[in-house]
């Protein structure tokens, strides 16, 4: 009995708890025979145990919400979930996001570029200095040629590597990038169509795939002409990808699973993964995901079914969540005749909603009340004077000033969908707003349409017949990038069909601020200009700001050291898995 007890303690520390405890116990019991033979056996057995400990792989299996594995060839589809799982894992971009803190805002940091600056004489030319000594997973070096090649894969139509299927998701996120030119091996010049200080932020979306790997695949690819060969090469590249990221592709079963292993040679030693292998499985259905976690098939799921959260907690799973750069708004129509043209009405709506009540009563705590597109602490927040909070009396007063009251209700119509990416729980949330706004003399009518239609109508604008006379639309948006968070909604030239200024906001003040921000190239001053724009939009009550999503995920308690930043992304390198 005594030997067993001591045995369980000693080898356990020796193998750092990675091997199972059972085999060392047997080893020591044999050793207690104290014969030379037994000692020899022990030595053999012990080395075996240690060897086993060394090879015992730590694996984390993740259930994603995507219906299919996001594309693995460098430019993922499936929105930011795609970037999270198949972009930032296997690839790096010139610039990246700081994902190291759960309290501070996630800001742009150097990635494969160490520094960058705009040409003071020609504000459409930027010089990027590249990180030396970085290698792709296939061993080829990362250099200026690789950057030019990757820019041209989506922008230069006659380049052999040009791939139409990657253009849509990439070009729309870098609307002004025009071309790239090599200066020397570690210096590149990027040109934009017009001066645009947002370029470094946009570039987080252009991932660097290995040109030499692709070239090899291209040469052996089947196909009648260059175009067919190029397509086949990209298909082959997707199945055997090579980037510079902290994870390397290991195994890929289309539509079922993607396995990546850690890249011990990753250039940022602080971000070499602690887990050996990560498996990603597409599980679009919340219930199936939750069942997979509860039955031990996966270790981590994205977006558990909210109703399952209590049971998950009770079974010892950990729920992570944090404010995300995401806004759940009503975007107002500002065309002639829209009741939202009166700023008192816009402010009243913003003051009439008890967002805390929505958070706890409706969403099991899984939202952050919105007081603007960015919350305090964010560099682009600024200092709005209009404070968005729940103040029913003030809201009623504003409505009465605007000429409405209990006997004269204001009818407003909002288009929304019953489901959709990022829409959270659109129907219950809108019904909640309907009830809340009724207290402030609003008569809210909901026009529920299909998610894809809603999304398409977003681009057609409030004047289009497809808007069906709605005074507001309820499409949620990501707020990672100043263009997507503000410019496309507030600038008058972004009105349909150009972009998503759905309500035709036309305010010279916003236009001037957008121009100022775009043409301010010092990062600090640019952030200050963006903050000014944001403060102005809040003061104007440009939206009905309701909620930010919190990106809930549930995982086994064995996963430690994970940081969930205020971002759509997460750094998988920091987590460890205890057996």
């Amino acid at each position: 009995m005594h030997t067993i007890k001591s045995a369980t303690q000693e080898p356990a520390t020796a193998v750092k708890g990675t091997a199972s405890l059972r085999s060392p116990v047997i080893v020591r019991r044999t050793a207690s025979l104290r014969s030379p033979m037994a000692l020899a056996m022990m030595a053999v057995a012990a080395s075996f145990v240690l060897a086993q400990a060394a090879v015992a792989e730590t694996v984390v299996r993740i259930g994603m919400t995507a219906a299919d594995i996001p594309r693995t060839l460098g430019q993922p589809d499936q929105g930011f979930e795609g970037n999270r799982f198949t972009g930032l894992t296997m690839y790096d971009a010139l610039t990246g996001w700081d994902l190291s803190s759960s309290d501070k805002a996630s800001v742009v940091v150097p990635g494969l570029a160490t520094e960058w600056a705009v040409n003071p004489d020609d504000k459409t030319k930027w010089v990027f200095k590249l990180r030396p000594g970085v290698k792709f997973h296939d061993g080829s070096p990362f250099n200026a040629d690789a950057v030019v090649w990757n820019v041209e894969k989506v922008l230069k139509q006659d380049a052999p590597q040009f791939d139409a299927s990657q253009v849509g998701v990439t070009a729309s996120r870098m609307p002004t990038l025009a071309s790239a030119r090599k200066i020397d091996d570690l210096t590149v010049e990027l040109s934009t169509k017009e001066p645009d200080s947002f370029l470094p932020i946009n570039l987080t979306n252009l991932f660097m795939a290995s040109p030499s790997k692709w070239q090899k695949l291209y040469e052996s690819a089947p196909g009648a002409d260059a175009k067919a060969k190029s397509q086949a090469a990209w298909a082959a590249f997707a199945a055997d990808a090579s980037g510079t990221g902290p994870w390397k592709m290991s195994k890929f079963t289309p539509r079922e699973r993607l396995e990546v292993v850690k890249n011990p040679e990753y250039w940022d030693k602080a971000r070499v993964p602690k887990v050996d292998r990560m498996v990603m499985l597409p599980m679009p259905e919340a219930n199936a995901r939750t069942a997979a976690l509860l039955s031990g098939q996966v270790d981590w799921i994205e977006a558990p079914a909210p109703d399952a959260v209590p049971q998950l907690k009770q079974r010892g799973f950990t729920i992570y969540s944090n404010e995300q750069p995401h806004v759940w708004p009503w975007q107002f129509s500002r065309i002639e005749g829209s009741p939202w043209n009166d700023i008192r009405v816009r402010k009243a709506a913003n003051l009439c909603v008890d967002r805390e009540g929505m958070k706890d009563g409706l969403l099991a705590g899984l939202m952050v009340p919105a007081t603007g597109t960015f919350e305090p602490g964010h560099p682009w927040r600024g200092k709005p004077t209009f404070e968005i909070k729940y103040d029913k009396a003030a809201a009623q007063k504003l409505m009465q000033e605007a000429g409405y009251g209990p006997s004269k209700k204001l009818t407003v119509k909002t288009q929304t969908s019953a489901s959709g990416s990022g829409q959270m729980q659109p129907l219950p949330m809108n019904e909640y707003l309907q009830q809340a706004l009724a207290e402030c003399y609003f008569d809210v009518q909901l026009d529920v349409i299909e998610w894809n239609t809603l999304f398409t109508n977003w681009r057609r604008g409030a004047k289009d017949p497809s808007a069906n006379g709605a005074h507001a639309t309820n499409v949620t948006y990501a707020a990672m990038d100043p263009f997507f968070a503000m410019v496309r909604f507030l600038q008058s030239s972004m009105a349909p069909p150009v972009s998503n200024n759905w309500g035709f906001i036309n305010d010279p003040k916003f236009d001037a601020l957008v121009k100022k921000a775009r043409e301010t190239f010092d990062p600090k001053e640019r952030d200050a200009a963006l903050a000014e724009l944001h403060a102005a939009s809040v003061d104007d009550a440009a939206f009905l700001y309701v909620a930010h999503d919190v990106g809930p995920r549930a995982m086994t308690a064995k996963i430690k050291g994970l940081v969930q930043p205020k971002s759509w992304f997460v750094d998988f390198s920091t987590m460890s898995m205890t057996p």
Partner: protein, 317 residues
């Protein structure tokens, strides 16, 4: 017999062509942008036009159909828009997984169905018959996707006995016929087998009952033939119809497991079809439907030929 087989094959050609046309039309009458999978809604109009040309969606429909058919005849169903992978390889992989599921489900469903059916037919209007027919009718009346969800909750979530979703610990690419993999198949196969079980039971019960009540069976029994011989007669007479029904059911399982595959995330043709529909991936959608329909036509052909070889009277039809 050979002539009959040849005739059936020739007869299948126009059907196959029409099936291809229906597939194509079905997919192309659809309103909505075929490029939604690769084109974000906030993309500019030039970008949209540029991509439409790159994918050939700007050409007239008959031209698109002709090109597609010409390539399809040569074994090329084009590339998926969302993934860029060849449609044919995607469909073949998915169909292989569906076949795995369907075959196991067919073994379960047909065995139980034949057993219940024969027993019920032999003991018509006894309590055994009542139990068997109740099981059968419950089988055909159950919304099977619902049954699947209930089974997952019981056996995966609560009891932790069986995996809830997926096709094996390493994905379908590493499928083996051992318990570690078969455990993934248990719940979806049982769920899939419920309807064929019910239908086969009902058919076989009726057939057995009818044959047993016919005069020649009485005559055989009167002649002192053993029950084994009578049973053999029953089997022989019931086989063509039972076979036809089972063949048809197998076909339905191959094409119709979309609901079950969705519930269990089984990576088969149904799940592929589901994602093709929701991603509006036209080449994948029409390719999948075409392959499944051709499979079904082929299976029907096989059933016809098998029936004809058992029962020569059919050949004249």
């Amino acid at each position: 017999m050979l002539a009959y087989v040849a005739r059936r094959f020739v007869y299948a050609v126009p059907i196959v062509l029409s099936v291809a046309l229906v597939c194509f039309l079905l997919v192309h009458i659809t309103p909505g942008d075929p490029l939604v999978a690769v084109l974000p809604a906030d993309a500019s109009q030039e970008l949209a036009a540029q991509l439409r040309t790159a994918y050939g969606f700007d050409r007239p429909l008959p031209v698109q159909f002709g090109l597609w058919l010409w390539k399809a005849v040569h074994g090329d169903l084009g590339n998926s828009i969302a993934t860029g992978r060849p449609v044919l390889s995607e469909v073949i992989r998915a169909v292989a997984n569906t076949v795995t599921l369907a075959v196991v489900a067919a073994v379960i469903g047909f065995t139980l169905g034949l057993f219940f059916g024969i027993v019920a037919g032999y003991f018509r209007n006894t309590w055994i018959d009542k139990v068997a027919t109740s099981v059968a009718i419950a089988g055909v009346s159950l919304p099977h996707y619902w049954l699947g969800m209930v089974l997952v909750i019981i056996f995966s979530v609560q009891l932790n006995w069986l995996p809830a979703v997926g096709a094996g610990p390493g994905g379908s690419g590493e499928w083996k016929w051992d318990w570690a993999h078969l455990s993934y198949l248990v719940l979806p196969a049982i769920t899939t087998s419920v309807i064929p079980m019910g239908i086969v039971t009902r058919t076989v019960r009726a057939l057995t009952g009818d044959i047993l009540s016919q005069d020649f069976v009485e005559a055989l029994r009167a002649k002192g033939l053993s029950e084994t011989h009578v049973f053999r007669h029953v089997i022989k007479n019931a086989a063509p119809t039972a076979l036809a029904v089972m063949g048809l059911q197998l076909g339905y399982m191959l094409g119709g497991s979309i609901l079950i595959e969705t519930v269990f995330s089984w990576p088969g043709s149904g799940l592929l079809l589901n994602s093709a529909i929701f991603q509006r991936d036209l080449p994948l959608l029409q390719g999948t439907i075409l392959v499944l329909a051709l499979f079904f036509v082929f299976l029907n052909l096989m059933v016809d030929i098998a029936q004809a070889s058992i029962d020569p009277r059919i050949k004249r039809g």
